[in-house]
Symmetry: C2
Subunit: 337 residues, 2 copies
Amino acid sequence: MATITLADVAAHAQVSTATVSLVLRNQGRISDVTRKRVLAALEELGYVYNQTAANLRNRSSNQVGLLLHDITNPFYAEMTAGLSDEMESHQMMLFLANTAESAQRQQRFVDSLLQNNASGMVMCAARQTPALFYESLKRRQIPVIMAVRSPADSGFDYVGTDNFLGIQLATQHLLNQGHRNIAFIGGQEGSSTRAQRLGGYSSKLLENQIPVRSEWIISCEATQSSGAQACTALLAAFPQITAAVCYQDIVALGVMLALRQKDKVIGRDFALVGFDDISEASLVQPALTTVSVAAREIGRKAGQLLFSRIQGNDEPPKRIILPPSLVIRESCGSAKF
Amino acid sequence: MATITLADVAAHAQVSTATVSLVLRNQGRISDVTRKRVLAALEELGYVYNQTAANLRNRSSNQVGLLLHDITNPFYAEMTAGLSDEMESHQMMLFLANTAESAQRQQRFVDSLLQNNASGMVMCAARQTPALFYESLKRRQIPVIMAVRSPADSGFDYVGTDNFLGIQLATQHLLNQGHRNIAFIGGQEGSSTRAQRLGGYSSKLLENQIPVRSEWIISCEATQSSGAQACTALLAAFPQITAAVCYQDIVALGVMLALRQKDKVIGRDFALVGFDDISEASLVQPALTTVSVAAREIGRKAGQLLFSRIQGNDEPPKRIILPPSLVIRESCGSAKF
DNA sequence: TTGTAGGCGTTATCAA
DNA sequence: TTGATAACGCCTACAA
């Protein structure tokens, strides 16, 4: 069956294509009689609007992209849900891309977005994103909101959380419990997010006249097994450590695994704080005390900002920093040491 | 800056637009000299291909949609990752929609896909999807792969798991451990998936001369709290129950919560099997024995099938059923009762 | 209030 | 091997 076009509808309703177009978009003053006739024709012919043609004509689209490393990471899944809700409320379509930390895949996806005339994007940049990428992205006229990972380049809007403050909260909590030998586990060297968190950690130690020991600061992948491994190695070398601030909940979960293998009782023999408040955090035994960053809210805020940019908001780049909060559960015990 | 079009490139390279178009798509016989000249011009002008125009002209697109209820459900996140990988390997863009079980949102998204000329979709239909929806969807010429939830309508391709067999495995495992008083917790009445799982459960009981007690079959929402509530109510009425087959891992996690409140030791006082093998299953204490359905693989297979349909494969509707497997962990203990 | 007609950027047909 | 040109379906001046 041939596709029904605006012209077909117009012919059927005995009006012009312009009239039909106006009715479709509720624009212009169209008399009630005409409108009804058009609506009826639309219905009768089973007309389907061709967004592609409209996009071409308008040099725009109602499509935006979301780039992230791993949708199976609960943190990002939450964020995606927030963004998706927000976009849907504006009748925009959301393209999803899993870059898996590959700068190449990321570049490919952005190219596709550009080719598809996407009207904007939210991105959690891959770790090895070259500076050139940001440069050339800025030259395009497309709104881009960076999320979660703050780019070195300050020319972009950014929505994220206060990493420094978040880890300060976590560290202070451990200090309050009486711990003095506190390690920092996780994150990738060179990451700016990690630098911020590390700053929160060390600032709190120093504030309490506790020396920062670089051997107790250890990096690892964002997986449970890496976390477990890191913890095992650390405790073998420094058994005096009684607590750890973990870079992420996932790492913390790994650390718990390792501790359990050493028959350490978490919350009594060893205290632990995570970061992200992923849903697993409340499920493990003992439940993980962690820093919550409201992933869904980050997605929502990023969506709102993106939409306003698409609408033409051209204020200078913004940084929206959502306040983190400490969710106290069981992994730090409650007794003073 | 005005957009650079094919015509601009053609002018710059002193060839026709047809030639440039052919070079771009590696089609037709173009002499090496010309090709190089075109390529150079492309580069020089910083040309960006306009997919929208091509789509309009071709009456097609490289976009597909994915509809699901909740991306934050780890099962669907995994599936999404599988599908996303598959689509990316074919250079297709993936639209994501969170329908949140709303038939209305689902309809809106499908309409958008149609309007955008999407070339296909994978959908996990919302629970209350009206039969009319399927009817009208079939009339469109767009490939649709149903996933996870099998539609009553058999006119669609389907990729999912064998619910019947999966729950049979789970039930048999409990029987092997010596349990006789086994409950079934979870799922929504009227769901066909649930009917299949219930079938697996009751068939195994009957096979072992154990009567099926309908009071021990209880439905609940797919949340932890509902699971917990259901378990509490059930045990209050029937303390003789010693084991449960849960409709989903999420429900099983809720049941664990409830058991713990009753000071029952899971794996010793009460045995539990879940379904889905979400990542939380291996994290809880004790780790949850569950039926694994390879969510990622479902996504991948759905993607492959969808792609083949888009390529023109017009065999009759297929049902791809992935075999489930029992992942034995700790929640059923190991001692015979 | 409604109609006419040209153009958005690409592809495909046909001719050269 | 390459070029000219007419669609694809919609939107928007400009006219009526």
